[in-house]
């Protein structure tokens, strides 16, 4: 029974963290280069501009869901199952989502990287 809970948590982690990553990446692209903004207008302007981006709050909520799913998952399943399984599948899910929703050019180089990293994460957990 605990195994089903663990996999349910893994599924939720992947879904929530991919949604969160896409929303946060979208928000930060709208905010613009943080370092440059910091230099020109100061730290408060950066924080204000980030918080004023509505998709940032949504992304943060999704990341919060992913975080608590991870805590649930870690309490039900082994660290060596939950972390690599969710991390490796999240890499692949993110590459797909970044291409569809963020219109990033995920070329051959980045597909191979996503698969290599996902495979590597699994191998390290065995």
């Amino acid at each position: 029974m605990n195994e089903i809970y663990a996999w349910a948590a893994i599924g939720l982690i992947i879904l929530a963290s991919t949604t969160g990553d896409v929303l946060l990446s979208y928000s930060m692209k709208r905010v613009g280069h943080v370092g440059e903004l910091w230099k020109r207008r100061g730290a408060l302007a950066v924080i204000g501009r980030v918080l004023a981006t509505p998709t940032f709050a949504l992304g943060l909520t999704a990341m919060g869901i992913a975080f608590y799913s991870l805590l649930f998952g870690l309490s039900w399943g082994n660290l060596s199952l939950v972390v690599p399984a969710s991390a490796s599948l999240t890499f692949v899910a993110n590459a797909v989502a970044a291409r569809i929703f963020l219109h990033e050019r995920v070329g051959r180089r980045r597909w191979i990287a996503a698969l290599l990293v996902a495979g590597g994460v699994v191998l390290m957990a065995i």
Partner: protein, 146 residues
């Protein structure tokens, strides 16, 4: 890519790994949770290991947001996986733990993946950003044109 940007990417790797490790350590103290014991999950924040882990994860988040403001998601993400490599290397050379062949193979795959992405451009032009007039003056868009 400037030195400062590599520093931010290194921050993502180090802070996320250290934060996750501390969280895992804290969760071991607390034992299992069930759906009937949700208050226990909220109280988990009071455990010192969990608190320290959350502080480091906040530092990770600041670095992560900074990186996402000037680089693609698919460029930044592989940097987070370098943490697994870091932990294994510290375990091997710092604590003289034995690392199995499959783990070395995993390290090689992750390193190859990260290297493959790092060799490419950090930001690819998107249709959205090209069309958006208010963003055309931003430094990010200028970097795309370069």
């Amino acid at each position: 890519m400037t030195f400062r940007k590599y520093l931010v990417l290194a921050g993502i790797t180090v802070f996320s790994t250290a934060g996750d490790s501390l969280l895992a350590r804290g969760m071991k103290d607390l034992g299992g949770f069930s759906l009937h014991n949700l208050s226990g999950l909220l109280l988990a924040i009071l455990n010192p290991w969990v608190t320290a882990g959350i502080i480091l994860l906040l530092a990770f988040f600041a670095c992560y947001m900074s990186a996402l403001s000037w680089a693609d998601l698919t460029y930044v993400l592989p940097a987070t996986s370098l943490g697994y490599v870091l932990v294994a290397l510290v375990a091997h050379f710092g604590f003289h733990e034995v690392i199995s062949l499959t783990r070395w193979l995993g390290i090689a795959l992750i390193a190859a993946g990260v290297g493959s992405v790092a060799a490419g451009p950090s930001l690819t032009p998107s249709h959205q950003r090209q069309d958006s007039r208010d963003l055309s003056r931003d430094t990010v868009s200028q970097e795309v044109k370069l």
